[in-house]
């Protein structure tokens, strides 16, 4: 029996060794260029579903109808992790789509493989690029997030779906607690949470554990998340965020919802809680949940340490263009320009709930009509002017997990806010130092 086991282990070991030994050095074998995965079209790997997917296909069809050459073909590739997995496999196979949607952490990994086109030259090219006036029309933050400090601060992606962290509130629950308007500061937020609990017996805030939300809260406290390649989770501003979460949990004003669920939005729609912190793009989902009863809820800027100098966090994926053939790259860039043009940007925003990324969108009659429909429809757009990006450093994806673990530890009472902040800083700095 033991001989058998020994034999199996030896063979497994030999297979593993053979696999490692046979693996070619990617740097040595990588060709200069990647082939297009489909030579007959400029393929765009995306994750939009239902109505958003229909609109994206409609826009691609319009783009294709306007010009000759390879058509844009939008392909749904599951969620972001599926896209990442498929792109990673395609990089090894040296065959890539023209472009794909993804977060900064995903793009960083693709850039390491030499698969992504830097857009700086394209953007400023006299013929193919955008005039300075148009570049300046973008909110700076939506472009800044696509510059990668680990790669000479070059622009390796372009904004696609953008949104900001907002505070959603239930007017009925607030009214039952004797509150007229939502909080503007974090002190008011805590005070209102206590009032809600005291007057209605309800929890005030269901917490969806999420690193971006923590980052947004730290920004709104006046702090930063990183400084160079060191994190700032032990700064006074970050500690105030963790202490707030600790207080909310200790006083049973907040509770944690299951990861990945949208139970907080459902609870808000069912008058069970007063506040939800979520992306501005959640507005459309909440509208459906609220049954279009616009009188009972609203959305506004997240509470601040200094309301005169507000801050929030910018969310959302970008598009990156892969280094395939010149024709594929040209068409992909043309499509990116088309998609982010003022008119299309507004159409996309109105159809999906994401934010228009151009300042000139404010003058668009369709958008103005939409804003006039409900007083809170403009709230997300107004936040763009002071939204800040999250770090797009190599290793940040791992740090995100650490932040979420620390938040969970605080909410569940496993760690104090102080200890969690200290441990998080140490662990996150170690991760960034390793890169």
């Amino acid at each position: 029996m033991s001989r058998c086991i020994l034999m199996y282990l030896t063979i497994a070991g030999l297979l593993g060794w053979a696999g490692c030994a046979a693996a070619p050095d990617p740097e040595q074998t990588r060709p200069r260029k990647f082939k297009p995965i489909d030579a007959t079209a400029a393929t765009f790997w995306d994750r939009q579903t239902t109505e958003s997917a229909d609109l994206l296909r409609e826009l691609a069809a319009e783009f294709n109808a306007q010009r000759q050459g390879l058509p844009i073909k939008v392909e749904h590739i599951g969620g972001y992790s599926d896209i990442y997995r498929k792109v990673a496999a395609s990089i090894q196979a040296r065959a890539l789509p023209s472009m794909a949607v993804g977060y900064e952490s995903m793009t960083s990994e693709y850039v390491r493989s030499g698969a992504v086109v830097a857009l700086d030259n394209l953007l400023t090219d006299p013929e193919a690029g955008l005039p300075l006036k148009e570049i300046e029309d973008f909110f700076p933050v939506v472009l800044d997030t696509n510059r990668y400090p680990d790669f000479d601060n070059k622009m390796y992606s372009f904004p696609f779906c953008k949104s900001v962290l907002m505070l959603y509130f239930n007017k009925r629950v607030l009214a039952d607690a004797g509150i007229d308007e939502p909080p503007r500061t974090w002190e008011q937020f805590l005070e209102q949470c206590r009032k809600v609990k005291a007057k209605t017996g309800k929890f005030a805030y269901p917490v969806s554990v999420d690193c971006s939300t923590v980052d947004g809260m730290i920004y709104s406290m006046g702090g930063d998340v990183v400084s160079g390649r060191e994190t700032r989770f032990d700064s006074p501003e970050a500690r105030r965020v963790f202490e707030l979460l600790e207080t909310l949990a200790k006083e049973k004003l907040a509770y944690q919802i299951p990861p990945g669920s949208y139970d907080d939005e459902v609870a808000l729609a069912q008058d069970q809680v007063a506040f939800v912190l979520r992306s501005s793009s959640g507005r459309t989902a909440l509208e459906r949940l609220m049954g279009n009863r616009r009188d009972k809820w609203g959305m506004t800027t997240i509470p601040q340490a200094d309301p005169a100098n507000p801050r929030t966090v910018l969310y959302g994926p970008n598009i990156c263009i892969f280094d395939t053939t010149p024709e594929q790259k040209r068409i992909a860039w043309e499509f990116v320009k088309f998609f982010t043009s003022p008119e299309v940007s507004v159409r996309w925003a109105l159809g999906t709930g994401y934010l228009p990324i151009r300042k000139s969108a404010a003058e668009d009659p369709a958008l103005q009509a939409f804003w006039a429909q409900w007083e809170y429809n403009r709230a997300g757009f107004d936040c763009l002017a002071f939204a800040r990006t999250e770090p797009n450093l190599a290793g940040w994806q791992e740090v995100r997990g650490l932040v979420e673990n620390a938040e969970t530890a605080i909410l569940s009472g496993i760690q104090s806010a102080q200890d969690a902040a200290t441990d998080l800083t140490r662990a996150a700095d170690a991760v960034l130092a390793r890169q």
Binding site: M7, Y8, I11, A12, L15, Q48, T49, R85, A89, L289
Partner: protein, 273 residues
């Protein structure tokens, strides 16, 4: 009296176990008839307030499930037939034929079971691309036509057959292939059914591989179709459950049809559910 009491307690315990097992399925089917708001409600209400029959039409409108079903069936049926053939032949060879290096070769087969699917994903994809099989049925079918687990299952079943059967068949002039086809395979029917069921379910339920090796709508399978209800800003859980209800129907029907043989085969091989 004491025996009746014990039997009643056992029946109650089993009924409770059955109810617990059935609850997620019942929830899935009944959620398929709810509105999205009701489906997302944190309170566990089993029955819909109003039956939303149009959810089924909405589900089929959201994605071409007809095409997905066709692809899933084509792929699953071919994979099942291929796995049965390769497993029976390889299993028989490992169980009954004497050849140099048999044990080492079998150990190597078993060793492949220890390599996680994720590890092999990228090399397999690179190979599929090199062969020009991206977006084809070949990519969905060929890599899954043989697997170590099914071969192991078949080998264990063949090893339990008395060698007298083979000796008798040889006296009557029967070769290995004929003995396998006409004598051995029918005698290990539960194992064959188990192999077939595992192959069918594995193929029908696979998601990552079809997602990676296909991108055209007309090559997609049902499991990939389910992802359209899960968006960046939430899940249309009522439609997802509606689609899931439709998608699991063939596998449930198949399981009930082959239940007896499946249990015999699974228990005989020492597999635990």
């Amino acid at each position: 009296m004491k025996r009746i009491g014990a039997k009643t307690a056992l029946a109650i315990a089993l009924a409770l176990g059955g109810a617990v097992t059935m609850f997620p399925f019942a929830w899935m089917v009944l959620t398929a008839f709810k509105t999205n708001t009701e489906a997302m409600s944190p309170t566990i209400s089993l029955f819909p307030a109003q039956w939303q029959w149009h959810n089924f039409a909405d589900t089929f409108r959201a994605a071409p499930f007809g095409v997905y079903f066709f692809n899933s069936f084509v792929v699953a049926v071919i994979v099942t037939v291929a796995v049965m053939l390769t497993s029976l032949m390889a299993g028989y060879a490992f169980a009954r034929l004497e050849f140099p290096g048999r044990r080492v070769l079998f150990a190597m087969f078993l060793a492949t079971m220890m390599v996680p699917f994720e590890i092999a994903l990228i090399p397999n994809f690179v190979l599929i691309r090199s062969l020009g099989w991206y977006n084809t049925y070949a990519a969905l079918i060929v890599p899954w036509c043989a697997n170590a687990f099914s071969i192991f299952l078949a080998r264990q079943a063949f090893m339990r057959l008395p060698s007298d059967y083979f000796d008798a068949a040889r006296v009557d002039g029967c070769g290995h292939l004929r003995f396998l086809a006409w004598v051995a395979a029918p005698l290990v029917k539960p194992a064959v059914v188990t192999v077939a069921l595992f192959a069918f379910l594995g193929s029908y339920n696979s998601l990552i591989w079809p997602l990676v090796v296909t991108s055209e709508e007309n090559m997609r399978v049902v499991q990939v179709g389910l992802t359209v209800f899960s968006g960046a800003e939430g899940v249309e859980i009522n439609l997802l459950m509606c689609a899931s209800t439709i998608v699991i129907l063939p596998t449930v029907a198949l399981y009930f049809a082959a239940q007896r043989n499946f249990l015999e085969g699974a228990l005989g091989s020492g597999i635990k559910g």
